[in-house]
């Protein structure tokens, strides 16, 4: 059977060159970077080099990059860490209704501790209105957290505009860039954010590595205390192979970002055009909004998403319904609800997410089988 992976927003395969970059640090140069002997020094050099590569993608100084176990830890550290550090200044945070659970649930945890959180809505295109963020600020607000690119529908938020309004008011600004990092240009100075989270496994580095950018001097209580790694911002023995892999993945991403973005944009247009031509009653979420070229969220009226997804899986095509993280729950996706997707479409949404390996042939194949699968699901 032909296998086609179109779930790159859930996770990506490690690229062979990335694997190659990490392998030396597993069995051979396996030292602990905190060790002073030559095994340790070699590991330390790998960590420093990787930090430079990551910093370059962000146009930031290397010292502003902190490694963590992934995007979830980065988001939790920043949101809870700022809340803890700033709790004498105020106990109000602002975020949006379409954030990833790693932001929403961290906020909910703070609510249980007595903080107040405003969840700014989005319009039907899936966009946050910068003025709405500004209007939600009070003199108690300590942090605003709005994602760059949404994981389910791919919409790109006007972060620079939001950050300008937020920082004008002296409030700290965080952006969850997990889905945008390495895919679209993200210079922290242009964005004007104080914190930015990223994750390795969305950009062809392995699972278990990620991190964040923080503007100095940083106000943040660490989440992990211990051996003072990462200048005390994130303790725990460094995941040296993962860090080396992330450095390599960043270098690769920086190397052809515009070309790859354009290539995927072409495929996306072909795909969405093909769906509209062949299948009736479809709704492409955020169609008119600035969007990641990798992401097409399409709902088929009168069909059920999970059944569609499993039929596709039986034919070798791997995709996702809502977010991979929240699949398995009954509720329709909070993102689609926030975008006020009409009821007949709400349960029939699929997310196709393209990646480096996706070809025009793959798209043609999916366009061939999809009409039959939708018709069958509508017919059962």
């Amino acid at each position: 059977m032909r296998y086609i992976y179109l779930d790159h927003n859930a996770t990506t395969p490690v690229l062979p060159k990335v694997l190659e970059a990490m392998l030396p640090y597993q069995c051979e140069a396996f030292g602990n970077p905190s060790s002073v002997h030559h095994y340790g020094r070699r590991a330390r050099v790998a960590v420093d080099d990787a930090r430079d590569s990551v910093a370059e993608v962000l146009g930031a100084p290397a010292s502003s990059v902190i490694f963590s176990s992934g995007g979830t830890e980065a988001n939790n550290t920043i949101i809870k860490g700022v809340a803890q550090a700033r709790r004498e200044h105020g106990r109000h945070l602002v975020t949006s209704q379409i954030e990833h659970p790693a932001v929403l649930d961290a906020c909910a945890a703070l609510e249980r501790q007595g903080y107040a959180v405003t969840y700014v809505p989005v319009d039907e295109r899936g966009l946050v209105d910068p003025q709405a963020v500004r209007d939600s600020l009070t003199d108690q607000t300590i942090l605003v957290s709005i994602m760059v690119a949404n994981n389910e529908v791919g919409t790109l938020q006007p972060i620079a505009d939001i950050a300008r309004l937020v920082r004008e008011r002296g409030v700290l600004m965080h952006t969850d860039a997990v889905q945008a990092f390495g895919k679209v240009s993200l210079a922290v100075e242009d964005l004007g954010v104080d914190f930015l989270s990223f994750s390795g496994h969305k950009i062809y580095a392995p699972k278990g590595i990620g991190g964040w950018y923080e503007r100095s001097p940083a106000v943040l209580q660490p989440l992990l205390h211990g051996g003072h790694q990462e200048r005390g911002r994130r303790s725990g023995t460094e995941n040296v192979p993962g860090i080396a892999a992330l450095g390599k993945a960043c270098a690769i991403a920086a190397g052809d970002m515009t070309a790859e973005e354009e290539r995927q944009r072409q495929l996306q247009q072909r795909f969405e055009h093909g769906i509209r031509e062949r299948i009736g009653e479809v709704r492409i979420q955020g169609e008119k909004a600035p969007r990641l070229p990798s992401t097409t969220n399409v709902a088929f009226g009168g069909a059920e998403g999970e059944a569609l997804m499993m039929s596709l899986d039986l034919q070798g095509v791997a995709i996702s319904t809502g977010s991979a993280c929240s699949s398995g729950s009954l509720e329709p996706s909070h993102v689609l609800r926030a975008m006020r997707v009409p009821r007949p479409y709400l349960h029939g949404a699929l997310r196709f997410s393209l990646g480096r390996a996706t070809t025009a042939d793959d798209i043609a194949y999916v366009l061939d089988i999809l009409p039959g699968i939708v018709a069958q699901a509508r017919g059962v």
Binding site: E304, M310, G328
Partner: protein, 124 residues
């Protein structure tokens, strides 16, 4: 979502899909929370189900539940008690996860409603 092999098998080859013309009992039930809809038609001869067909707009578990429900129903009597319980559906599917048991509830509801419809038509 993890499904049993039985669910996979029924999803892949659902039995008795469709609508019986001039049925003796018919029902359409829905679960507003998740949007699942189940349509069930029965042919009943001498108080015994001889034919059952279903259609659903639902997730794979709902499809499998509909399929296994029709299989189980055929040959059963329609007396006082319901001919099929959600527990039987669940069990026949190799156990549904907590998030998916509602599909067996939907199936039971459809069976009860269709039998009720049959009794009403009989003028009881």
């Amino acid at each position: 979502m993890k499904y049993s092999d039985t669910v996979h098998e029924h999803f892949d080859n659902p039995r008795n899909i469709g609508v019986i013309e001039h049925p003796d009992g018919v029902a359409e039930v829905s679960n507003p929370a998740c949007g699942d809809i189940m349509h069930l038609t029965l042919r009943i001869v001498d108080a015994r189900i001889t034919e059952a067909k279903f259609k659903t707009m639902g997730c794979p578990a709902a499809i499998a539940a509909g399929s296994v429900t029709t299989e189980l129903l055929i040959g059963r009597g329609v007396g006082e008690s319901t001919p099929l319980t959600r527990a039987e559906v669940n069990e026949s599917l190799g156990g549904l996860s907590p998030q998916k048991v509602h599909t067996s509830v939907l199936a039971e509801d459809a069976v009860k409603a269709a039998v009720r419809d049959y009794h009403r038509r009989q003028g009881k």
